[in-house]
């Protein structure tokens, strides 16, 4: 039988590790060197568009 304490213990430990894992993944994705060009391109691309859809 799963009681309240078991759930609390699980969520406290599991919650800590999965949030840390997610944080590391996001930081890795953000600062991965090969992504830099794509991000810079995306930031610039909204400034100079011609206001008609690409077809």
């Amino acid at each position: 039988m799963i009681d309240h304490d078991t759930l609390v213990a699980f969520s406290k430990s599991y919650g800590l590790f999965y949030l840390m894992a997610m944080a590391l993944t996001v930081v890795a994705y953000t600062f991965w060197p090969s992504n830099k060009e794509r991000f810079d391109e995306a930031a610039k691309s909204i400034i100079d568009d011609e206001d008609t859809p690409c077809r």
């Binding site: 944080a23 996001v26 953000t30 810079d40 995306a42 930031a43 610039k44 691309s45 909204i46 859809p53």
Partner: protein, 550 residues
């Protein structure tokens, strides 16, 4: 508007409207003898009026292939106008209830005019009516530009926009009638909630279908924020509104939750409504219109990504800070407090990113009230996220909770951040989509800016003073160990601040009226120009581009 729909879409519109009218009729019949009948009738009447509208344009010529060479902005145009109308209604009622707190007898002895019924008209009017319509309108605009793809069809954007406004109408009229499930920011009853789920699923599908056809390799960060807003609001809305109606003929339902679980679910919803409705969506606006208006790419795209994931992961856990010193387990309160304090990092990443984007364009901020709206919004965003983290700390909360300090904090965020970034974005998008060089009057934009700033400052300072005095009076003990002040004493002390708050809110509401007038005159200017266009046959866009390529 109907002429922009293909014949098949016109048929689909009629089919959907028929289904809605039948559902409305069914509610009205099942709910006879209950207040539900009024809403059943309202739903049916709305559907029938729209059916006549569709039929009146049914035999108009179909739109040609050349439509694919243009973005589909008509729903955005309608959404902007609706947002401004709701702004005037929501802020007007807000100022009304502010005066009601000064003159509590001002209810004309009518149930609908009592504070408890009018206040949700204000909160839903500004959050869902004004904010929601502005989010839907700008999201369609931003989505198409950043994907370089037209919306997938012409019917579904109208379904979302009109269906959403039907929800807002049911909400606001229901409060006046006395229909409420008494959940903060989730007052509408079960049938309106179910309808919103349908609308919201279609909204998300528009996003996915457009992104699938995008011509850009990367999904621009503004879309991530908009999508988080749509997806998470769907989850929050469904879970918090799980309820069983008394019968299909009754407007009243009972929540699936009770006691402290109900409170926790409600504030998980309530705080994430702040996070994903009032923050993520408007950050999407900010990440597009601010760099665009300043003519500079965002300072750091990476900061945008880090901030996005920080906000989405951390806000989810912050809700329990609304329930300090309650029956909620202590560790859950502490969890909420900890995540709220950590939230300062992604929040300030976004604020700093926006201000650093403006670095080098401060001359534009000085000259252009539209950009200044956005700049000031970001400043208020930074201030109110700091204040929010601070207030979530249990010891601070013991002073601030249940006082006007909370009201002041909410309005620093809602007026200072949400409304200002929206007005800035609307002033940026209106000349753009109506193809005008600028708004009808830049002086009126200036006037709106200063009214908004003055109104927000008066409001927030009044509520800070009021709240801290109130909190201190409630915790002051006499030498004998009894409370030094009665509740009525604290109310009397509040009165001058309530007057100041109503004046500040009045400034802000007048600004919104000026904004609506300015938008309206810009539209008239645009249609006058179209009427004056030369009396020549229209050359299709495709033919022109062929000639140019010879």
């Amino acid at each position: 508007m109907i002429s922009e729909l293909t014949r098949g879409e016109r048929r689909l519109a009629l089919a959907v409207l028929t289904a809605v009218a039948i559902l409305g009729l069914a509610l009205a019949v099942a709910g006879r003898g209950d207040i539900l009948a009024v809403h059943g009738g309202l739903i049916m009447a709305s559907a029938v009026v729209l059916m006549f509208f569709v039929i009146s344009g049914y035999y108009a010529p179909e739109p040609g292939e050349e439509r694919f060479a243009q973005y589909y902005d008509t729903p955005t145009k309608a959404g902007v106008v609706l947002a401004m109308i709701w702004a005037v209604i929501g802020m007007g009622v807000g100022d009304w209830v502010a005066w009601l707190l000064v003159y509590p007898e001002m209810t004309f002895d009518a149930a609908w005019a009592s504070f408890g019924r009018l206040r949700p008209v204000h909160t839903s009017g500004v959050i869902f009516g004004f904010g929601g319509n502005a989010l839907i309108a700008t999201s369609f605009h931003v989505l198409q530009r950043t994907s370089r793809a037209r919306l997938p069809d012409q019917f579904s954007p109208w379904f979302v926009l009109i269906g959403y406004n039907l929800f807002c109408l049911l909400a606001a009229s229901g409060y006046l009638l006395g229909i409420t499930q008494s959940k903060e920011y989730a007052e509408p009853e079960w049938y309106a909630d179910l309808w919103l789920v349908v609308v919201w699923v279609v909204y998300f599908s528009i996003y996915l279908r457009t992104l699938m056809r995008r011509q850009e390799p990367h999904i621009y960060v503004a879309n991530w924020y908009y999508m988080a807003f749509i997806l998470v609001v769907a989850i929050l809305h469904i879970v918090n509104n799980l309820a069983v109606p008394i019968s299909f003929g009754s407007a009243k339902s009972y929540s699936a939750f009770a006691g402290v679980q109900d409170a926790m679910t409600q504030w998980w919803y309530g705080h994430n409504a702040v996070a994903f409705f009032l923050t993520a969506g408007f950050l999407g606006m900010m990440y597009y219109y601010l760099p665009k208006r300043a003519g500079r790419p965002v300072f750091s795209y990476r900061m945008g990504i880090l901030g996005f994931w920080g906000i989405t992961f951390m806000y989810m856990w912050a809700g329990s800070h609304h329930l300090h010193y309650t029956a909620l387990p202590q560790w859950v309160q502490t969890l909420g407090m900890t995540f709220s304090v950590m939230l300062i990092v992604p929040s300030w990443l976004a604020a700093a990113n926006a201000l650093l984007t403006l670095n080098g364009a401060w001359d534009k901020v000085r000259d252009d009230a539209t950009l200044r709206f956005m700049m000031l919004a970001v400043v208020f965003y930074g201030l109110s996220t700091f204040e929010g983290s601070f207030m979530s700390i249990r010891a601070v909360n013991s002073l601030s909770h249940y006082t006007d300090w909370t009201v002041g904090h909410v309005h620093a965020g809602a007026l200072g951040w949400v409304a200002l970034i929206t007005f800035g974005s609307i002033y940026a998008v209106v000349p753009w989509i109506w193809k005008q060089p600028s708004m009808y009057s830049n002086k009126l934009v200036e006037a709106h800016f200063w009214l908004s700033l003055a109104g927000t400052l008066i409001y927030v300072f009044a509520m800070w003073n009021s709240g801290i005095i109130q909190g201190l009076m409630w915790r002051t003990y006499s030498e004998g160990g009894t409370l030094a002040y009665s509740f009525i004493d604290s109310l009397v002390a509040m009165r001058p601040y309530y007057i100041a708050r109503a004046i500040g809110g009045g400034f802000f509401a007048v600004g919104a009226v000026i904004g609506l007038y300015n938008v309206w005159m810009t539209i008239r200017q645009a249609s006058a120009e179209r009427a004056e266009a030369p009396d020549a046959p229209v050359v299709p866009a495709l033919a022109r581009s062929l000639q140019a390529g010879e």
